[in-house]
Symmetry: C2
Subunit: 191 residues, 2 copies
DNA sequence: CGTCTCGTTGAGAGTTTTCAATGTAAGTGG
DNA sequence: CCACTTACATTGAAAACTCTCAACGAGACG
């Protein structure tokens, strides 16, 4: 939970009282490796903040059964389907623990109540969403403008920590590369 | 300006007084075709809401000089580099009018002051950012999971209006396709 | 051990790009 | 009004990149 506080405090200030209030709205959940936080077809009941471990968000192709990674999340990141969470409509996304993980969960009613009690959190969420949008636009840019090797190199520079926590074939999918291609890229001398 | 109000009112309610306050913080600017709203290397001074016309956000490759479209914006959309706007650091993005355009602009100091005067706008911005994040994740998913033809078909369904307002070679870049490839896809019978 | 997960490697196939040429419509200046 | 430029779209052939498929290897774990 300290991790969430420090994340929030990078953008707005919190009193001990605030932290107390915030804590009361969240529940901690442990996930086994492979356990689902959200399954396609069901509603995203919780917004999740990752405290430990790593998760993948992915879409399974109805025809081929292939998994396409949409996002990866490790400690200090968020992992949920925002649209499904806020509209309470069925999600097309799966979220699953890659490793054993600990997440902090908040339901939509609790989320709304929390924002009413601590309106300054609106600002926090707005700010992290701004960063998120920027990061996603950058990801789209790299996907469109650069080849597989260049994308992988950029990925390593930007998220050096992820390399150790996430299997390569999932990183490949995240980057829009086949697992075999990424393996061949890594075999090249000039990384 | 009415367009901005109706955009906001899709998510939160506004009194006439609110509208009056909001109006006072924005300035209207007309752009000629090809005119820059933001140039790479400079700071994004304004958050822009498009009232008329269409704009492109793109990154120019330093080596090849190629333009890579990062986003397209038409009436009722936002167009800015959020990161540069909020940090006031140099942007790597260009934003240029594709057609003659009218935009509503707000500076960062004005933006912050507006949010202090009308805190409920925090909620509005948080909500539209949530939708934006969802749309960008969907875009990434399609980019990674589907071939050029399928992406174009999905694009036509999702944004039928854009087809008439944006030249094809820019739509191609937006979708991560070469202009020639898109032309060949359109020549196929079974769109 | 035997299985499961994950990574590697190679060959062939497929998609998409690049390059170059051509066409067309719209604007601009004489 | 016409010639000329500019912007955009089309087409074809060759090249480049990436994928698929298939086989194999290595480590973890029960």
């Amino acid at each position: 939970m300290e991790l969430l506080f420090s994340n929030i405090q990078r953008h707005i200030s919190l009193s001990e009282e605030d932290k107390h209030i915030i804590s009361s709205f969240w529940t901690i959940k442990r996930l086994n490796r492979g356990e689902h936080l959200l399954s396609a077809g069901s509603v995203c009941r919780y917004d999740a903040f990752v405290l430990e471990g790593s998760l993948k968000g992915y879409i399974t192709d109805a025809d081929t059964g292939r998994e396409e990674i949409v996002f990866l999340a490790v400690a200090d990141w968020w992992a949920s389907d925002l649209e499904s969470f806020h509209t309470q409509h069925a999600s097309s996304l799966n979220i699953t623990a890659i490793t054993p993980a600990t997440v902090a969960l908040i339901s939509l009613p609790a989320f709304n109540e929390l924002l009413e009690k601590l309106p300054k959190l609106e600002k926090y969420f707005r700010i992290i969403l701004q960063y998120h949008v920027t990061a996603l636009l950058r990801r789209i840019y790299y996907r469109n403008a650069h080849d597989a090797k260049s994308r992988y190199k950029t990925f390593l520079q930007q998220y050096p920590a992820l390399q150790e926590q996430i299997p390569q074939y999932l990183i490949a999918s995240y980057l829009g590369i086949s697992a075999e291609m990424l393996s061949k890229i890594r075999a090249q001398k000039d990384l």
